[in-house]
């Protein structure tokens, strides 16, 4: 199974120009709010029409502006999990799920599948409840059951966890992951949360201002995001302008230090980045004296702000995230922090 998307649409403030191919498994689309992620899903589902381009699913053309093909959403067999789950408020759980089974003419078979999915989604006993009587997690499972009984060839998940409380989110993430594996087909998950994307998706497309500017396997993307925007979207907080000074060495201009990288430095790099988690006082490599400033306390970690001794005064403070128990006791004048060469992100700044 595969999905080929190559579409353009003028959205006024910016142009959507998206092109990618997705295979079986979960692909994430990660990007800030309003970057065109949801619009991309809507175009694939057929509830919005792109200005031009082509969408193909499993060899079937869903949309092709040149050949004037534009299948109705009803004919596309695309399951769409909306951010608010879009359960029909005037129907019970049972009636909602049966909406996904209207293609099945045999009554007994309908009932059998309904029972199967009620069981699979742990919705037993809730058949006659209305959506407003369910918790967020239950609503999500009803919406998924309703979609899956319809046997979609493609699953679209639009911010699947944003309507849930934090403590529910982590639990449901595990369930959702198991469910998507059970489903087995192509899934696209749109999110603005890098944690959700990392946990759920085998590969991630980074999207900004209406276009995808990178598509990589998840682990690879986090290890080597390649661009400043990519590093920033995957959660990197510390950036400095940089230039190459040796085969494995760059000068971080804003920080006033030289850093050794784990791989050869490309000629055209413009920035380096170091994630806040990856500093250590005991690491001897890339170790430079710093001045520790204030700190922000979080439940299990502290964020400590610091500056390199020779740092450019206009450059912002750096962030260092450290588990509470390792937090330095008392701040001495001659503190220094290092980082392993593999953690030095070599970046280009593409606008």
């Amino acid at each position: 199974m595969s999905l080929v998307v190559d579409i353009k649409k003028d959205l006024g403030e910016f142009k959507l120009d998206v092109s990618f191919t997705a295979e079986n498994g979960v692909m994430g689309i990660l990007g800030p709010s309003g970057c065109g992620k949801s619009m991309t899903l809507r175009c694939i589902a057929g509830v919005e029409k792109p200005d031009s381009g082509r969408i193909e699913l499993d060899g079937v053309t869903l949309f092709d502006s040149e050949r004037r093909v534009n299948l109705k959403p009803q004919a596309r067999r695309v399951g769409y999990l909306f951010q608010n789950y879009a359960l029909f408020p005037n129907m019970t759980v049972r009636q909602n799920i049966l909406c996904g089974l209207r293609h099945e003419k045999d009554r007994a078979e309908r009932e059998r599948q309904l029972a199967e999915y009620l069981e699979l989604m742990q919705l037993g006993g809730l058949e006659d409840h209305y959506p407003a009587q369910l918790s967020g997690g239950q609503q999500q499972r009803v919406a998924l059951a309703r979609i899956l009984v319809n046997r979609p060839k493609l699953l679209l998940l639009d911010e699947p966890f944003s309507a849930l409380d934090t403590h529910l989110r982590e639990k449901l993430l595990v369930e959702m992951k198991a469910m998507l594996e059970h489903y087995g087909g192509v899934s696209l998950a749109v999110t603005h949360s890098r944690d959700e994307a990392y946990d759920l998706c085998a590969s991630i497309a980074l999207m900004q201002n209406g276009s995808i500017h990178m598509l990589k396997p998840t682990k690879q993307l986090f290890a080597d995001p390649g661009t400043v925007a990519g590093a920033s979207m995957t959660g990197c907080k510390n950036f400095s302008r940089a230039r190459k000074v040796g085969e494995y060495e760059v000068e971080a201009l804003d920080w006033g230090i030289r850093l050794t990288a784990a791989k050869p430095v490309a000629e055209d790099i413009t920035h380096v980045g170091i994630r806040a988690h990856y500093f250590s006082p005991t690491c001897r490599q890339n170790n430079y004296p710093v001045k520790l400033l204030g700190s922000i306390e979080e439940p299990f970690e502290d964020i400590i702000c610091f500056r390199y001794v020779n740092q450019n005064p206009d450059a912002p403070d750096l962030w260092w995230r450290i588990p509470k128990q390792f937090r330095p006791q008392g701040v001495s004048e001659d503190y220094s922090l290092g980082t392993a060469p593999a953690n030095v992100l070599l970046l280009r700044d593409i606008k």
Partner: protein
């Protein structure tokens, strides 16, 4: 006592409410989908009868349906005449009550969560199923309130009605035209009876609207 005005008023109001119910929903649904400029123009045209004096509406209706006018002449040739007949009252009541239904239905449709329609479409549900089984139930309180208001307005219609169908006892008389005629001819007692009947009907209608609104607020908590 002659009950004809009550029966006539009720049948005019009932039939015109049915017409206005479907016409208002139809226009509300399709006007919302039009490009902005056309939508703005149509919106004004469709709402005008609400703010125009009923006599002006009556004047326009006479321009169209008068027996000397092309449309009126043509209708007359196939045996339909809206001037001075009780069913002419259906036309005036419908035209005057239409904006109430149209505007309430449009407001209700605008509050509809479009993701419900989208998810229905992706599940393979037909557009008419989505309209009647999902959109209409979702908007039911607004649409019911609009229907009741339109019915009340149709029942109380006087200006345009008196111009198009006049007052003929036992043929075109309605409650509101009767009140005027009894008062004009000095029959205060009969006028008062019809005033009280009118008051009673209006009170029931407004009570219904209030109950519907309360139910709507209660529904939000569920």
């Amino acid at each position: 006592m002659d009950w004809y005005p009550l029966i006539n008023s009720l049948r005019i109001a009932a039939i015109s409410s049915v017409i206005v119910f479907f016409a208002g929903i139809f226009c509300a649904y399709y006007v919302a989908k039009l490009p902005r400029v056309i939508k703005g123009v149509l919106d004004v045209v469709l709402t005008l009868p609400l703010v125009l004096p009923p006599t002006v509406v009556g004047y326009f209706l006479l321009l169209i349906f008068g027996v000397q006018r092309p449309v009126g002449m043509w209708l007359d040739s196939i045996g339909i005449r809206f001037v001075m007949t009780w069913y002419g009252g259906i036309i005036t009541a419908a035209v005057v009550a239409f904006p109430l239904m149209y505007r309430t239905a449009r407001g209700a449709f605008e509050s509809f969560d479009m993701t419900l329609a989208y998810s229905g479409q992706t599940l393979g549900l037909s557009n008419s199923y989505i309209f009647w089984r999902i959109r209409m139930p979702y908007c039911r309180q607004g649409i019911l309130a609009g229907t009741v208001l339109a019915f009340a307005r149709a029942l109380g219609e006087y200006g345009a009605t008196s111009m198009l169908i006049g007052y003929t006892p036992g043929r075109t008389a309605t409650i509101s035209t009767s009140v005027y005629q009894y008062w004009r001819t000095g029959d205060d007692r009969s006028a008062m009876i019809w005033v009280l009947i009118n008051l009673a009907i209006s009170a029931v209608v407004l009570l219904t609207v209030n109950l519907l609104e309360k139910k709507q607020k209660g529904g939000a908590h569920r």
